[in-house]
Symmetry: C2
Subunit: 441 residues, 2 copies
């Protein structure tokens, strides 16, 4: 009998390994943060004993979701302005709200609120881009969430830096500070090609190369951006990225709504990754990314929620549902983006996008125990013919009962164990009063 820390027992399981293994009456043994064994409940019970047992009867055990693109602290702006023209929304609401309100406190508490929401809807890893990302890292660490964090870089001042040199130094500081952390990882994030000079882009890449870190960038989110960049560069944005050495396996592009066949070929040839964020693309009326074609081209595509100003939630189950249905109607083809493909995008494919597929995204021995348990004994999940179908077309974030990250239970039976949610909500409500007042003319 081997002693382990935790055994999860008696549930159905989707492993999201390369064979899409599905188990009935599964058990998982966890030790020192790692998945030690995956198998039948009886078999695991014979080989292992644990300090703590989690009963997953009538439940589904699966890897936690990987949210490939968000701006966590923007929870503070959730619902402050919707249903507006893009430039009206940005110039009259979001940019002024950010300029007047974003500081370390907002970054910390906004992120902590985001982690509460993410854990409660089954996300165990997220990739973030915002301001004061050291605060984001501190909040994620406090919540016990795995993340990739990157300070947003552009050629104008941010609430965190007077000029881009300070921003680059801050990014280097983040990389050094967090480089050996068990949960926090660093990504270098120039905001977009229309906000960053070539000089900035090249300096950012140097940092990414020095730390072997990924590079993340908003790319081709809508038609206007595509046209303006083509005009600016005299070639496609992706060709420009190729010229400056950006196209490699560590590039993560967010959105890619207006993406040509040639763009896809270049991305596929160079192993670049994409975060698809369909709810945000719909709500901001950006367009429909050609995801079925991207997948056909062999590009690794994950799912992201984007931030709470443009979604307005961080729920990956909602995002899966949106992704599955949007492409069907956009192509008038009900066979594209089947449920299993979409669940993979929200888990193991997302982990690949972030370069974290060796530690998360599936339930396999040797990986970190990033695991969620979803209660199936509910009217809206009855009867059960297919777990994939229910996850994408019927479930909701509130069905997630228990969440483990890095082998630690961070939520049990919907009670958050690392975050005092009442306290966090109160802090964000206080911040929101100031945000609201700051927008009054």
């Amino acid at each position: 009998m081997q002693e382990v820390d935790i055994i999860i027992t008696g549930g159905k399981a989707l492993l999201l390994d390369s064979k899409n293994t599905r188990l009935d009456n599964a058990a998982i043994a966890i030790k020192a943060g790692d998945i030690t064994a995956v198998g039948q409940t009886e078999q695991i019970a014979k080989q292992y004993r644990a300090k703590k047992t989690i009963n997953a009867k009538d439940s589904l055990i699966m890897p936690g979701f990987v949210n490939c693109h968000t701006h966590a602290a923007m929870t503070c702006f959730r619902g402050i302005a919707d249903d507006l023209e893009l430039m009206d929304w940005l110039n009259n609401y979001i940019f002024p709200a950010e300029a007047k309100n974003v500081n370390k406190e907002l970054a910390y508490w906004g992120t902590l609120l985001a982690t509460a929401e993410m854990i409660k809807s089954g996300t165990t890893t997220f990739c973030d881009m915002y301001i004061f990302e050291d605060e984001t890292a501190r909040a994620a660490k406090a919540a016990g969430m795995r993340c990739l964090i990157g300070e947003v870089l552009f050629d104008f001042p941010s609430p965190n830096f007077k000029n881009i040199e300070e921003g680059l130094l801050y990014t280097r500081m983040l990389a050094e500070k967090w480089q050996n952390d068990s949960l926090i990882n660093i990504i270098v994030e120039p905001h977009a090609l229309y906000t960053c000079s070539p000089s900035l882009l090249i300096k950012a890449k140097k940092i990414a190369d020095d730390f072997n870190a990924p590079l993340g960038i908003h790319l081709l989110e809508n038609k206007t951006e595509q046209e303006q960049l083509h005009e600016k560069f005299g070639k496609s944005a992706v060709s420009f990225l190729k010229d400056i050495g950006y196209l490699n396996e560590r590039l993560i592009a967010f959105h890619c709504v207006c993406f040509s066949d040639e763009d896809m070929k270049l991305f596929a040839d160079h192993g670049c990754k994409i975060s698809h964020n369909p709810a945000s693309n719909m709500k901001l009326a950006s367009g429909v990314a050609p995801v079925p074609d991207m997948l056909k081209a062999g590009i690794t595509v994950g799912l992201g929620t984007d931030g709470c100003a443009s979604n307005n939630n961080l729920d990956m189950i909602k995002e899966m549902s949106t992704a599955a249905k949007l492409h069907k109607v956009a192509r008038l083809d009900p066979t594209v983006m089947d449920a299993q493909t979409v669940v993979r995008m929200a888990t193991i494919e997302g982990a690949k996008v972030l370069g974290m597929e060796k530690i998360t995204g599936s339930l396999e021995v040797g990986k970190k125990a990033d695991i969620i348990i979803l209660g199936l004994n509910k009217p809206h999940l009855t009867p059960l013919y297919s777990e994939y179908s229910h996850l994408v077309y019927a479930a909701s974030g509130a069905d997630i009962d228990t969440v483990l990250i890095n082998g630690k239970v961070v939520m049990e039976n919907r009670k958050l164990l690392t975050i005092d949610e009442t306290d966090v909500m109160q802090k964000v409500r206080e911040i929101a009063v100031n945000v609201k007042n700051s927008l009054k003319k």
Copy 2:
């Protein structure tokens, strides 16, 4: 001091009246099923005392959702087949599953499961089309839900009738049996123009006219249907409906995805109603109904989930979110289908579609008390700048805590009071075993 049955007190409220009144610290007094008073908590407390008080602190009080189109008993087929070509899906899964399995028992228990799901996600009224609708009515009555029920009519035999004359007699029986019921109302429902002969359509209309009941029909769900009907009639389907006297204020058309300007003008001129079912239209790749144009033309449009074979849920909050975002991306215009418009479609406009706006759909004195209470004290609903925004873009069905229908509390703090959900789920699981076995070749 007037004595009433129930006072709901201390919540924020969206009344969904013609002024879209929003109240802080609202209270609602209910007596004999009716809304007796709506006002400030202090004012109501001075004038009324109640046997039962429901504390709505940190909560939103609003009218229950009106689901304008579903096939409730199809919960039994939830997730049995997805992501397939329409004809493959229908001919190899849904039609055989129905032919082999639909009987009174499935109709009753499938509907009862549906009512559990609907109440738990805030729906208080639904409009149903299926087979053995007397069982649907019995189940809705047992659950305490308000509904419009109609036996599906077509020119071939159904599990409930050998020929259409039997189907018409059954419909007449339903209308007579339930005509004075406080919750159950009857609709006459020829299935669609491609499954019903003109003779059937005219006989169905006679019943609707005799009972002053609405007529419901699937209409122009996709391009193929539109083209085939035009070929068949030598004119548009809506022109054909006009010729046979169908265009009046009691006509409710489901879907209307492929709907021309001329169709809209005819519908607007005659006061015909539409149920928009965006999740089903997306999942089945039917297309995008021109809802912003319908609204501009002055047509009353409500929201429906469609059945669980094609959605696969009955959650009106999900449907609102889908409706708001789908039209933005389809038109590349973020200003269409703003949150308030969509919440109205899911409540008062839906009630108008069903001809029930005098009794439900808004919180106004004299209407029946069909009320839901949604808990706001949650990370994903924090902070709160706009209740409409949160309902459409951030909330989930699981946020509904308490539901009253016709003045009766049917769910309190998420506990169903009229339905034994464990028992219902067990019965449907037993039915599902047979359904699954029946599809094995």
